[in-house]
């Protein structure tokens, strides 16, 4: 809560205006019963009709003042609240964007989504509305009680006797409903995830004909959700009428005891009327207490979740005084690099050196650590031991953005944005001209396909490239990486969905780019064969290394893979040539 206030403090002046308007409003509101009392007591009862017009004019003037102050209060709180919340939202977004991959490995997208949207909105609700409202209610309450005592302290005491009961129920209500909301919001998240996965995985669901199973799975969660909502409704049904009842009783006390006192001559009817007004003033805050505390509870829960994320220091950061390589040529070496993940070694003692313009290829079994190498180069994870040197500088000493700017990585999972093909390709190079985009697309062998589309480069594609085949997505991702025009290109199994012909063309196009250092992770011999060095990984360790020829001569595992993939090439050779 304190930290939210810190955000609000930035807009002190903006919050000050509605606060003052609020005070004006409360003061004007207090004058209302005073005037009403005077009308009843002096005009109606005593017959001083000549002051009626004056009093009524005053009443209208007060009403106008209240309306104006009320509007300023509402709008300015909204205004200041929106500003403060915008800052929170942006800070959260920027912070999440700066988190390393490890964070995203562990956190569901749905969860951080709801932090940035729903939880921020919960805070918005409070600082834009409830907080000001709360202060106003407190003001009303305090002033109301003071006025009650001033008007008739004995009657005030009689009324106050009931207030602890109302407070008791309101607090209980808050506690119970807070718990209920907690469960409901968790269950909502479960329901959300169930539905989201069902939709995202709809192909799988349909492929296995699992619609009925999915429906019953969803129904189960939905029914839990229903039960929780009923539970909450019962709590509300339990407490609201009681609070309502007690507030009505307060009114009754005023009539009966107040009436008694009027009869006995302790107070006037006008006093009773005004007193009744003040009672209304304190009754509303009591009635609304449940609602407000509920709001606050929700807000502070949300704030806790948000600041918990904000407090996570990104494990990978730029150094204080980053070193810059003298020139960017794409020279890369791994020196005794190891990577551990929860005690298990993912990579162990990896050494290699790629000279500018050379190609290093990495092969290996599924899960042998190939992708980890590619992730280490961009410092998406940090090495556990050893060091990675790019252009003569340890990457941990480089500015993170400089480092990532000087390499292009095409990842295993192709992700495209729902935007036009053009925007997707120029994602890394915003200022690229159409010619440059087309050149990159041509090099990635996707130009002809794009041109064949009705809208060409302006065709809109969906999240994860819905509507495109795997190979098309991969080639757009490659074009995107090529346009970035860095000296080091990392292809992490980025051509797996391409047909042989296309892959062959792509390889040739890449080869023709002068001075481009390439790290190619692949399974096909055809993709790695040209490399200056080929590493064969197994369980995080390099088991074989060398050029295509030297590895073939070695007749080891590489040779076995080769034989598997080209079993009958020799036979073909005999037949055909």
């Amino acid at each position: 809560m304190k930290r939210i206030l810190k955000y609000a403090a930035k807009y002190k002046v903006l919050f000050l205006i509605p606060t003052m308007a609020m005070m004006v409003f409360v003061v004007l509101d207090l004058l209302n019963p005073i005037i009403s009392r005077r009308i009843i007591d002096d005009v109606i009862l005593k017959g001083e009709y000549h002051i009626l017009a004056k009093l009524l004019l005053l009443l209208v003037a007060i009403t106008i003042g209240k309306a104006v102050a009320g509007y300023i209060r509402e709008f300015m709180f909204d205004y200041a609240g929106s500003k403060a919340v915008k800052d929170i939202r942006k800070d959260l977004f920027d912070h999440i964007q700066s988190m390393p991959f490890e964070f995203f490995d562990k956190t569901n997208t749905g969860e951080i989504m709801s932090r940035t949207t729903e939880d921020v909105n919960n805070i918005w609700q409070v600082i834009g509305f409830t907080f000001g409202f709360f202060m106003e209610q407190i003001l009303f309450f305090v002033v109301g009680i003071i006025m009650m005592f001033i008007t008739e302290w004995r009657l005030a005491l009689a009324c106050l006797a009931l207030i602890p009961f109302i407070g008791y129920y309101a607090i209980n209500l808050e506690k119970k409903i807070g718990e209920a909301y907690d469960k409901i919001s968790d269950q909502n998240a479960v329901l959300n995830t169930t539905a989201q996965e069902n939709i995202a995985g709809v192909r799988l669901v349909k492929a296995f004909g699992r619609e009925k199973y999915e429906i019953s799975k969803f129904f189960k969660e939905n029914e839990k959700n229903y039960a929780l909502n009923i539970g909450r409704a019962k709590i509300v049904g339990d407490y609201y009428p009681k609070i309502e009842f007690l507030t009505n009783i307060v009114m009754l006390v005023v009539i009966c005891i107040g009436g008694y006192m009027v009869i006995r001559g302790y107070m006037t009817i006008g006093d009773l009327f005004a007193f009744n007004w003040y009672v209304t003033m304190i009754v509303w805050p009591m009635r609304l207490m449940g609602f407000m505390t509920n709001n606050f509870a929700q807000c502070s829960a949300s704030a806790k979740k948000i600041f918990a994320i904000m407090d996570i220091e990104p494990a990978i950061k730029s150094p204080e005084s980053p070193a810059k390589p003298r020139r960017s040529v794409g020279e890369l070496s791994f020196q005794k690099v190891s990577l551990k993940y929860e005690k298990n070694h993912v990579l162990k003692d990896i050494n290699f050196h790629v000279k500018p313009g050379e190609t290093l290829a990495i092969m290996g079994a599924t899960g042998s650590g190939k992708s980890s190498i590619s992730n280490l180069i961009g410092r998406f994870y940090d090495v556990s031991e050893g060091g990675i040197i790019l252009d003569g500088v340890d990457i941990r000493r480089m500015d993170l953005k400089d480092l990532r700017r000087s390499i292009s990585v095409v990842m295993q999972d192709t992700f495209l944005f729902s935007d036009t093909i053009e925007e997707n390709i120029k994602f890394g190079a915003v200022d690229a001209t159409r010619e440059q985009i087309v050149a990159a697309a041509k090099a990635a062998c996707i130009h002809d396909f794009v041109e064949g589309l009705e809208l060409g480069y302006r065709t809109v594609i969906g999240e994860r490239g819905v509507g495109l085949s795997g190979g098309q997505k991969q080639r757009i991702a490659i074009a995107r990486a090529l346009l970035k025009n860095s000296r080091l290109l990392v292809l992490d199994d980025a051509t797996s969905a391409l047909d042989m012909e296309t892959e062959y063309q792509l390889q040739r196009a890449l080869k023709s780019i002068k001075g481009l250092t390439k790290i190619i992770i692949a399974h096909r011999i055809s993709a790695v064969k040209e490399a200056n060095e080929i590493l064969l990984l197994d369980k995080g360790v390099v088991v074989e290394r060398g050029t295509h020829q030297s590895l073939l001569w070695k007749k080891g595992r590489y040779y076995e893979i080769y034989r598997q993939q080209y079993k009958d090439i020799d036979a073909v050779e005999e037949e055909v040539i």
Partner: protein
Amino acid sequence: MSVNTFKEDEILRESFDLKIIIRLLSYLKDYKLQVLKTLGLMPIVISVTLLNPYFMKLGIDKYIADNDINGLFTLGIIALVINVFGMMAYKVTVVTMATVSSKILLKIRQELFTHIQRLTLSFFDSRPVGKVLARIIGDVNSLNQLFTDSVTVLIPDAITLVTIAIIMLIINYRLALMALIMLPALIIVMFFIQISCRKRWQQYRKKSSNLNAYIHEDYSGIRVVQSFTQENRRSSSFSELSNSLTDAFLKAVKMADGFWPVVELSWGVGSAVVFWYGVRLLQVEGITIGVLVAFIGYIGLFWRPIMKLSNYYNILLTNMAGAERIFEIMDIEPGIVDEEGAIDIPPIRGSVVFKDVTFSYDNGDTVLKNVSFEIKEGETIALVGETGAGKTTIVNLISRFYETDIGSILIDGYDVRKITSESLRSQMAVMMQDSFLFSGSIKDNIRYGRLDATDDEIIEAAKAVQAHDFILQLEKGYDTGVNERGTRLSAGQRQLIALARAVLAKPKLLILDEATSSIDTETEVLVQKAINQLLAGRTSFVIAHRLSTIRNADRIMVVDEGTIKEIGSHQQLLDKKGMYYELYMAQYRFLSE
């Protein structure tokens, strides 16, 4: 292709559609009894609210004026008893209506979900996940207030309003008319505000939806954002969207915040008028002071339902948008439904026949042209061809994910349109390019292939596809939790788990669509062997780019630009020296270059 990006506002109808309201309210039909009960109790709740100021009047006029203490306390006791009844009635109505509305939401959500399950893939192709999801969760939730409020606000408040007006008219019609003098003006102003607010709130919701879409995409694609160092640009686009959200909000509240002051104003002026006129009446006709006091009380009571009603109207308008979005989907006819009299296909033996099949996706481009072929039981068919040639489309049609435009597809002689989709798909297994995992344990993900499989069978399947070893190395083995994108698992490992799932299903017909593209050759050889053993004698279709995978097929189909160019065994096609030969030699050429 996708229809919507974060930049585009969704199109919402602007008109106030009575049909939607009627359709929504028709859900209340099943709960006639509960609604009647609530309505029956409503008079008690209302009368308590209404009687309290009347007691005030009675107290002042009758007992206080007459100095009748006993009468005053009797009145107090009567009022107390009535308030107790009121409390009980209130409690019943709150709980009853909340239950009814929760039940309706449950029903709508389940109808919607069930309906979405019946929709074809073309529906899912054209809409981002987030926007479908928003309907199932957010839009349904937004209806919550509607049903409760329709019964607990609309009806009682309308009654309250009318009753107060009548009471005031009975007590003193002239004073009543004066008290109501501000009403027509107020109503006009209020509706004017609401109408313009509605448009502004709609705008706000659209902006909010855009921002959500943007955030969702940014977080999903964070790896790309970071590796292309676009954080700053993404952040400033985010700010733009966030700004336009705030602007839309402020534009809406600028109008909406004026609402209460207007009510306040009418109330205040109304009271002043009552005082003024009341005092005149007092002088001329000698109405009682109690009447005047009660009148002031009634005016206060009068404005509250007006505010609540206009608030209700606001909610109604807000919810209409949600309801519209829900019904829009409910009204989409599932493109593929089991025909009447569709039968369950008996255990599939595995012959597949395409007869002159022509197919195009929704956007109109013809993807398959006059495709005909016959696959015998137990054959393994490899589909080769350039990306986008139509390979995936062919296998999608076999599972009837889409419907052919022209021509027919026969499985074991049964037209796929004449059999139930479920009986067909439950005997098939399809492994796609994207290996999707549900959040949950690895074990449960494999079990998805056959829900009643035992743990041993799951382990057996994992062993068969070479996944067992790496699974055991994970911290919790088969119970290790994974999520949608398969946290910490490599693409190859995810494919192995998906393969285990397919193997476990023991399908009669297997389709592997680039299912092994991320698996290394050594593992693949072992996996292939296992699959071959398990599926001996079963028909399978394989889409792959690796020669070693293709070569093992019984027959190879070369697909090019939506037609089948060649079909035959590896050797036959090589001898033919056609397209396959070219494709094959490309690999060879590259090797020898």
